[in-house]
């Protein structure tokens, strides 16, 4: 049998010289026309709709980031007025968090891969899946409308009473956008949970699931439990702003700190919505590109759930400098430290997986290694901030900014880019140019560190975040800020390169074989790109996840797990 899922006598894709079209009918060429995309219920097409839209907003958020960095090139507030600067960092945060990072991996890679990895034809609720994309788009339109009308200046945190009483910007409209976007996120999470529970192929037991699925399951739990709370909180802020009802207004007996509790009850777990899917991606990449079974599968799987559960109990560490009681602070501090345990379990297990593996430094692996290093820095600096005393000094400084960018960019974004490269051959049926891929991965790594490492130093020196100006008589501050801006420019270049070659490869890239790396997951046992129904026959799973063989063995006896097909030549030279 030549990979189990291929139908008898299925035509093989034409050789790589052909630049015309795919030989087999797949989800991309099955139907044509704009209507076939906008009304599609195919999870793979919806993933591509998401990919297009979130890339757009990533670029927009990036423009805001560059404007922030350009303003901070000089000490004086000269490029933009302070009020404009407030809007710049607010819009940067809102767009990057709500319109890019929250949907990024789940809505693009998760949407595409969850059914493929578990051997299902689609997600459990295809219509709801499409609805979630439309909700996302409606939310995006509302946010952009508010932005074009003058934007919002509260910071992405919408702290009361500034947001409810004093801000003269589009708080309600932006809030409405985030509210709608929340439902998009909830529906995605709901779809994943039900799909993973009920749609697994015969033999695909819970402990044969790829770790990508486990991490998406944990992410979905956070999405369905946390997002409704931010939804009701935003409603309360909007009512308070419109009708002045006073639930967060101390003049009317309300408590502004209650808002902070509500906000962080969602927004702290939301950080794990961003990072957990990346961890799933890294588990896949590390195992595949070092040709080893993942070290400690069960521990990695349960550490995802542990992060999801602990993540709900630590929100108070954002309130150490508020009126929260010191005793509550101590407890939140201790629980925050415990989140480090499952995170460290993952890092150690990835490292142990790499140990004595047949490592190939393909682009996805470069991103995965970047993730492991940068996430470790981001995580360890998080412990500084979870310590009550240190946090008082570091809170609201650039140390915080650097810390969460190491998690969100160094972690979540690296995982997203690594995953996009890893599954690009499956998604588009084309290879990306490996040389450019490795080059841009290095550029991004250098640019990222140059941007954010100086910010750790700025933070310890006491530079506060969210200010358009800083003192000119501190020469070190400007040197570090110039380094950071220079790094941001390099990072921007590094991010534009994949943007170009991904689009280029869709037309001119080499045709991808069904299993280019080769990997053991079910998604690689169907054609690239997959047919609309994913698998011609529902696969029956008789093997454990990650049954990898060292590359030398693979050249002689094939990929492994009972597959007797001829030895597979990796798409890129593995040495």
């Amino acid at each position: 049998m030549n990979p189990p899922s291929l139908p008898e006598g299925a035509p093989t894709p034409r050789p790589t010289e052909s630049r015309v079209r795919f030989a087999h009918t797949n989800y991309i060429n099955a139907h044509y026309g704009i209507k076939s995309w906008l009304l599609t219920k195919d999870h793979k097409r919806i993933a591509l709709l998401y990919l297009g839209s979130i890339s757009l907003f990533f670029a927009l958020g990036g423009v805001y980031a560059m404007m922030i960095r350009l303003e901070l090139l000089t000490p004086a507030s000269d490029l933009v007025q302070p009020m404009t600067y407030n809007k710049l960092f607010t819009q940067h945060g809102i767009i990057m968090i709500f319109l890019f990072l929250i949907p990024s991996i789940p809505a693009v890679l998760g949407n595409f891969l969850v059914p493929l990895m578990i051997g299902a034809k689609d997600l459990a609720f295809p219509r709801i899946n499409l609805l979630s994309w439309y909700l996302y788009m409606i939310a995006a339109v509302i946010v952009v409308w508010a932005l074009l009308n003058g934007g919002v200046d509260t910071g992405w945190t919408f702290y009361t009473p500034y947001s409810t009483t004093f801000s003269n910007s589009y708080v309600v409209a932006t809030g409405l956008g985030i509210f709608v976007n929340g439902f998009s996120s909830i529906l995605t999470g709901l779809n994943f949970i039900v799909t993973i529970h009920t749609m697994r192929a015969p033999g695909m037991t819970w402990f044969r699931l790829p770790l990508f699925i486990w991490s998406h399951y944990a992410t979905s739990l956070i999405m369905i439990l946390g997002t409704p709370v931010i939804a009701i909180t935003i409603l309360l802020v909007a009512f308070e702003r419109i009708a002045h009802i006073g639930i967060f207004d101390p003049r009317l007996g309300g408590d502004p700190v209650l808002f902070q509790h509500f906000f962080w009850f969602y927004s702290h777990p939301a950080v794990y919505i961003m990072i957990l899917p990346s961890m799933g991606v890294v588990s896949e990449i590390v195992s595949t590109h070092s040709r080893k079974n993942i070290f400690g599968y069960t521990f990695v799987a349960f550490s995802s759930l542990a992060i999801a559960v602990f993540g709900f109990l630590v929100w108070g560490h954002h309130l150490f400098t508020s009126s929260q009681s010191v005793y509550a602070g101590m407890i939140f501090s201790i629980i925050s430290f415990t989140v480090a345990i499952p995170s460290a379990v993952k890092v150690f297990n990835w490292t142990a997986t790499l140990y004595k593996g047949s490592i190939s430094y393909d682009t996805p692996m470069l991103y995965a290694m970047g993730f492991i290093g940068l996430f470790t820095i981001g995580g360890l600096t998080g412990l500084f901030l979870a310590s009550l005393g240190t946090d008082v000094h570091l809170t609201d400084t650039y140390f915080i900014v650097a810390h969460f960018h190491y998690i969100m960019v160094g972690g979540a974004l690296m995982g997203y880019l690594g995953g996009l490269h890893n599954w690009w051959p499956k998604i588009t049926g084309r290879m990306y140019p490996e040389g450019w891929g490795r080059f841009s991965a290095l550029v991004i790594f250098v640019g990222f560190n140059l941007t954010f490492f100086p910010q750790f130093l700025l933070g310890t020196l006491g530079m506060p975040r969210r200010y358009a100006a800083y003192p000119a008589d501190e020469p070190v501050w400007q040197v570090l800020n110039v380094m950071s801006t220079a790094g941001a420019s390099i990072l921007a270049v590094g991010l534009i390169i994949p943007g170009i070659y991904f689009i280029w490869s869709m037309r001119y890239g080499k045709f991808a074989p069904a299993n280019p790396w080769p990997a053991t997951g079910l998604e690689w046992r169907t054609l690239s790109p997959p047919p609309t129904e994913n698998f011609a026959v529902t696969p029956i799973v008789t093997w454990e996840a990650y049954e990898y063989r060292p590359v030398e063995e693979m050249r002689v006896i094939g990929v492994g797990d009972g597959d007797t097909s001829p030895p597979v030549q990796p798409a890129h030279g593995t040495t």
Binding site: K41, A120, K121, D122, L123, A124, F125, P126, I186, L190, N191, I193, V194, T195, H197, T198, M199, I224, L225, G226, T227, P228, V229, A231, I232, T233, L236, F239, A243, H244, I245, G246, I247, L252, G253, G254, D255, L258, F262, E533, T538
Partner: protein, 244 residues
Amino acid sequence: MSSYRVDEIHLTGADEHAATALAHHFDNLEQQREAGSLGMWVFLITEIMFFGGLFTGYVIYRTQNQASFAYASSTLNWKLGAFNTVVLILSSLTMALAVYFAQVGSRRNQIVFLAVTAVLGLTFLVVKSVEYAEKIRDHHVPIQGFWHWDQAQHALPANVTERSVQMFYWIYFAMTGLHALHMIIGIAVMLFLMYYAYRGRYTPEYHSPVENSGLYWHFVDIVWIFLFPLLYLLGAHLTHGGGH
């Protein structure tokens, strides 16, 4: 292209009708039913978290303003609230009966009980509107510029502040308003189910939309079971068990 593909599936009951109810991406009706049911339960969990924010706000502000909340509660019409509680419990019974008749395949009884459920839901909303109208008449809606507390009509006891009464009323409107919105959606769902039941879509093999809508209806009822004592019965001791 039709969204239902009959050719690929295993016909479990060899029932042509059941086959058309099976969506293309499920292997069989059992899997489809399980997915739908789990989906509804997961949705209800998100609903609990959604209402949970307001319940938390209620607990915190009630703890801080015990006396005011008890007094403000006594200015609500508990008799109407109790009447509505009975109406909703009855509607849960009729909903359960509608599900039962869908299971046994009685189309007529199914439609009748769906209709009764919708009518009971509507009754609840009418009574709720009467209560709201009374509060609007008295300017007891806590919107800036509209709110007015007439000391002559409702004299505040010594340990009660108008500010805290206002807070109670805000929470009252937020919670009951959100609940009423869920009732409206529930009634719309009942009408939708009645239409498809009339068309003969639900059979003993395939009736999960009726079951899942039933879960939703019961959930909305249960929310009210919590709201009624928390909002209406706090101040019963102040009025010696009487309304006003």
